[in-house]
């Protein structure tokens, strides 16, 4: 019995080392895309700062990775999560959205904040600075509604 346990542990250790060689993909650009929200909308500095702190890691092409992303399988699952986030809403590509899509995305930003769905708990539990204060929530919602109204005119 002891022998088996030892074998299993050895296998697990080797597997853990082995998966470190799986190539990692990174969602990292030095510069903001031309279609980034900051270049396609008139975004005040404080609003842009909130977007970058609380949203950009999963919803843009400019992720700031934590150190443990260098470890597999963390990297694998994180990248998967980011791909999904970017499919829903990508702040780096917002300028390329159709007007119709843009309007429904802006609407969703408001309802996600209202329903306290975003930024999600599993993210803010580590990124404490991403948590939105009540004041920040109002600032974001006001700015988004204002732009939504402009688009609907």
């Amino acid at each position: 019995m002891k022998k088996y346990l030892k074998r299993i542990i050895i296998v697990l250790i080797i597997a853990f080392i082995g998966i470190q060689f799986i190539p990692r993909t990174y969602n990292l650009r030095d510069t903001f895309s031309e279609n980034d929200i900051s270049k396609t909308f008139d975004v005040p500095e404080n609003i842009q700062l909130i977007f970058e702190t609380s949203c950009y890691d999963c919803h843009s092409n400019n992720t700031e990775y934590p150190w443990y992303n260098k470890i597999q399988p963390v990297s694998y699952f994180m990248e998967d999560h980011i791909t999904e986030g970017k499919e829903e809403l990508n702040f780096s590509e917002i300028g390329s959205y159709s007007k119709r899509r843009l309007k429904s995305k802006l609407k969703s930003i408001i309802s996600q904040i209202d329903d306290e769905e975003m930024p999600m708990f599993s993210y803010t539990i580590i990124h404490r600075d991403a948590i939105l204060s009540e004041e920040e929530k109002e600032q974001i919602k006001d700015w988004v509604s204002e732009n939504l109204n402009l688009l609907s005119k």
Binding site: R7, G18, I19, T25, K99, R100, D115
Partner: protein, 204 residues
Amino acid sequence: MKKSIYVLVVIALTFTACKNEQKTKDHNESESTEMHGNSDGHHDNDKEHVEENRSIETSSDKNSATSAMVDGYLEIKNGLVSDDKSAAAKGGKNLLNAFASFDMGSLTKEQHSEYMEIIENATEQAEHIVKSPIDHQREHFEVLSNDMNDLIALLGTEKTLYQDFCPMANNGKGAIWLSETKEIKNPFYGSKMMKCGKMQKQIN
């Protein structure tokens, strides 16, 4: 020792295989968005005329091709009216199938670009309706109703529909929905406010 190396190889291969699959999927998706981007690139300005809550002109070309889509949409609507999350989700699935099996060959070039834009957005709403709790289903249904309204204005329908308006929905800004019955049954609030709303227009 030999055994553990085999295990390791299998694990590594599984991970790499998953990764590749993901990549192909991403690739396909980005390709289709690119295609879409190109096809409507020239029509950006034309789209400006598609306004929210646009009323539907009674269309003379009654299009049976949209029937499956309208059916899927109404199934979602009726699910929400009866506060039934899974019925709405099922309607969402049927709507997605109807979008997928629609023959785009019948569209003119101008129709095609507007159609693609509407479907892109409507598909996202339907996907969320399939997988979300009922409050979220209702939020996405608001957006979807606009898309369906525009889609019918674009392509026509052989069905008799009623465009209803609820002044309370959409954070008090109001929102429309489409119904097959004259009687008001509110899908945005269900049993909480069944009779809220008024009929704005009859289609066909």
